[in-house]
Symmetry: C2
Subunit: 245 residues, 2 copies
Amino acid sequence: MRLMGVLKGQHAGYRERLIVANGLKLRAFDLGRQATSADVIYDALRDAIIRGELEEGEALRQDTIARMFNVSRIPVREAMQRLEAQGLVISERYKGVVVASLSHEQITEIFQFRALVEPSVIEMAVPLMSAKSLEQAQYYCDAFGAETDPERWGDLNRHFHNCLYVDCDKPYYLSVIDKTNDLVERYVRLVLYLTQGMRNAVAEHQAILDACVAKKPKQAAELTRQHIDKAGKTLVSYLRDHTRK
Amino acid sequence: MRLMGVLKGQHAGYRERLIVANGLKLRAFDLGRQATSADVIYDALRDAIIRGELEEGEALRQDTIARMFNVSRIPVREAMQRLEAQGLVISERYKGVVVASLSHEQITEIFQFRALVEPSVIEMAVPLMSAKSLEQAQYYCDAFGAETDPERWGDLNRHFHNCLYVDCDKPYYLSVIDKTNDLVERYVRLVLYLTQGMRNAVAEHQAILDACVAKKPKQAAELTRQHIDKAGKTLVSYLRDHTRK
DNA sequence: GTTTGCATAATTGTATCCAATCTACAATAT
DNA sequence: ATATTGTAGATTGGATACAATTATGCAAAC
């Protein structure tokens, strides 16, 4: 039974949640959080952008997208307003919106930012980390190493890191990290593809995870910092060598 | 001559910028950045929210706002989509949007986040800081101390800090800081009002500025961290004492 | 060949209209 | 009285329609 599809995805700003009524044992959803057309379209476009399925600079025509989803342009425009607010597209009046692209300098800056925030979060998370999160992290770590489908590397990488962050109990930090990663994910995926999965990343992941298991917050933070720093530098140098621009 | 009014304000996601064509010495605007109705309404609503002119939890009726700006509900809805993406309002399907409110825990978290990011930015900015920025900072610092109109304290405080950040040459950091400050600004203003301007803040501001003038990045960063930490704690304790909830 | 001047087609921005849903209050039952 | 149900008006989500602007194609002029 797929009910989640009709609720606002978490990227539209909402968490799916089961509400249990007063004395009534009934698995009820908060239908006030039903997804609008704009929600669905936002999630789909966001996904396509961060997965790199839409090229940077590619135009998003309202009418084309409206027809794809069998809706009018109104909800499409609303989705685009959100994408623009998140920095995923850029719009110019009467010209339309295009998928945002980042210069090497911008990518470098964003990785520098991640290298500041994410270590801080993992440090706070370690003391609170549940066995389940650690288990999941190990699962994603192994899966990342074993996966052969390039399309999946990006997901597994991100899931792994998320597992080590979620228990920090700092929703604002997490939302910033999420939005920040959205902006560079397409490039991360590209380089994961070009480098055939950055095999050495697995060892770094395992080292971070080990530090978490050993309840060493500072060490986990420092390893995370190094990991992000290295990933950023590798990424930009690969982009310089392997792409025009 | 006021041309800027017809351009997208920077909070709509754009910086006003003079584009000089190829070999042609001509002061030309990028007219693609003309403001739409949605841009204007977004800026106005955002402003009203962060200034605390709209109470937290207050409903924003599409029709009411549309009539105020003499437009249809369409651009109003688009503005609201952006506000929601920035976390300034919360919307529920068929119920409408309300001004977002933050719990004390959320405010605490956001100040903790600021205390991580802003010191890092000022540290990067100090070596690059222009005489003009330092001058402006001193101006706003003094103005903050001398100002008697409570409405202005919030602006002056924020302008002061901004002066010390802008030269860091890290647009992404700055955009995150800006959006983060937007979320707590209404509470900062409230407490500035309740504490009659937090007179002791002026001394802290001057100390930060002095460290910048003396080109001591680490010291400026540490003072900034303390300043934000203290401001956050003062703010939350005042909110606990002086507001219901 | 390149530039200029339209006419036309595409595309976006916004107004108007309708259907779905919520809210508030009256009507009814307990 | 209190709780429940029904209904009218308010409000939102979205489709359609139209206006404003930009992009394109093509002929005329240089």
